[in-house]
Symmetry: C2
Subunit: 332 residues, 2 copies
């Protein structure tokens, strides 16, 4: 089948379908990127909510830096799905997480969007294979899953369903990269994708701990924001352990702490640490290290940690995490 896609750099108009927290976040991002944006939500009160959040957050967008021509005046809040998508080059859907609703919305968008338009869903975990199942042009439908707030957090997870064309997946990756996002492309459909699965594992363990009286909500937040959360913002979880391993890196960690996988240190049962898994983890860390020694990586992490803690301190606000301690201890 011949591709109808236009170049990602030729996109002029983006439609956002759904006016909740994520939909409005996308509106802000695409306005900042310099597009004409149409927004649609069936709820009558959504019009006012979209307009006021865009106005309230626009100074931050200006502070971040607008693309040439970007203006909040280029937002049009419309009254029908058809009106929203009919002239759009890209549609970013963000309706509630209900598979039947998304499937229906995609079938309807498919009828009214131009032939070249790419239709993306913001779903956190519903299968694209399901979402595209009642549409006539499923090949142009793809997951583009953002993280809240979409106007700031760089990650977008991209994956297709069974009927999505590889071209559409590549197109979505290029489009997001052109527009200040940091996309990762999943090779397989996995429920909840990658980041949300990791988040969900932590969220469930936290809920178990709260339910059992093992920790309070506040302790959980402080423990993450003043502890491993700081490192995750710099290294992610895997490289974090690589850096904790001393000169031996991840190999040392797996050989040294591998036995703790059998401890009841979470309610989640660990996989068998086979030689193959061990090697795959070590190889991945080596690829990320790209020739840098653990000592070099540690020095980079430390400089980032100091910069992040100073940046938080400079904000001069009460800690959202409710920290009761003496601050970060990092002084300029």
């Amino acid at each position: 089948m011949e591709s109808k896609l236009i170049a990602p750099s030729d996109v002029k108009k983006v439609a956002v379908v759904g006016g909740g927290v994520i939909g409005i976040g996308w509106v802000l991002h695409y306005l900042r990127m310099g597009f004409d944006v149409t927004a649609y939500d069936p709820m009558p009160e959504a019009r006012e909510r979209i307009a006021s959040m865009v106005n309230d957050t626009w100074p931050l967008m200006e502070d971040l830096g607008l693309r040439p021509g970007a203006s909040r005046d280029r937002l049009v809040i419309v009254s029908s799905l058809m009106e929203a998508v009919s002239g759009a080059d890209v549609v970013q859907e963000a309706v509630p997480e209900v598979a039947a609703m998304k499937t229906k919305v995609f079938a309807e968008m498919d009828q009214h969007a131009p032939a070249h338009a790419v239709l993306m869903t913001s779903t956190s975990g519903i299968s694209m294979t399901v979402i595209q199942s009642e549409s006539k042009h499923p090949e142009r439908m793809v997951v583009g899953h953002p993280f809240n707030p979409p106007y700031l957090v760089p990650l977008v997870e991209i994956l297709g369903g069974d009927q999505t064309s590889p071209e559409t997946v590549a197109w979505a990756r290029d489009f997001y990269r052109l527009n200040d996002k940091d996309p990762i492309v999943l090779e397989r459909e996995v429920p909840a994708f990658i980041a949300s699965r990791l988040q969900e594992a932590m969220w469930r363990e936290a809920l178990h701990m709260i339910a059992e009286g093992e920790a309070t909500v506040e302790q959980i937040d402080i423990s993450v924001r003043q502890g491993p959360g700081l490192r995750w913002a710099i290294t992610g979880p895997m490289m974090n352990f690589h850096l904790a391993g001393g000169p031996g890196g991840m190999a040392h960690v797996l050989d040294h702490f591998g036995p703790t996988l059998k401890e009841p240190w979470t309610r989640l049962v660990a996989p068998e640490l086979t030689d193959e898994l061990r090697q795959r983890v070590i190889d991945g860390c080596d690829r990320e290290a790209a020739g840098r020694s653990v000592a070099e990586l540690v020095a980079e992490r430390d400089r980032c940690l100091v910069a992040i803690m100073r940046a938080r301190d400079a904000i001069q606000i009460p800690a959202v995490g409710g920290s009761s301690g003496s601050g970060t201890g990092v002084h300029s």
Copy 2:
């Protein structure tokens, strides 16, 4: 029993037992805080490793700001456990995570440390009740679990064993607060405490995904550092969801996303979302919010996010997470 403890502000000399990554990290922290520090590790090569890491990292400690009188010249690397702890007001143990070894080391430290000294273990998850079980003065022994690197990350988890006195627990909290740490005190012994349990849940889910070919090591790191990890460094996991809920906050999230707890979105089975658990989570978020509306908290989070991403950008190093995208998209 009458307390022999001195005031936390009267501590002059700290002993660090164990010269691995964590032990040396503590040495750096306590030197920066202006203490005399003795360090001991039984391995012959440790002396050189401690000295060289202290020297390499000292410029960063100077950059952070030294307490009056702080000097790396106040480190003495000694040749026996007895010599290390005999004049110490505080001992911070950081030997390998082997319960029998820690139990033996504590019994020996207990013989040689002054009667007023508080003995802390850096264990990530071994029970203090076990560690103190062969000592004559178990009441002065307490967990002070740091996060790597201890000279930067503020969190310390504090908890006692069955024989630890409540005074010792309170003393440890006050001592860490005086010395630029952000301690949390656990009411109960839970394997792996709080932050490491959350970290372990995520780590196990990540290993499962790598083992099954659902994600690569690099995708896991990018997904966290460019996605939820950024938010966790600011809000922690619970307030993060409170802020994602719009004006309805956590209550809206639980009512809206509660059903996803039943989805196979991680290998960890969720707890039943009872009315009691629901209310406990909402109440905790309300306490953390301390009267601030979701809109106010979102504005704070956004300013922090921008500050953190700019701080990372300013470091001007290749991303440790190996990001292949176009950067954070945040420009000054």
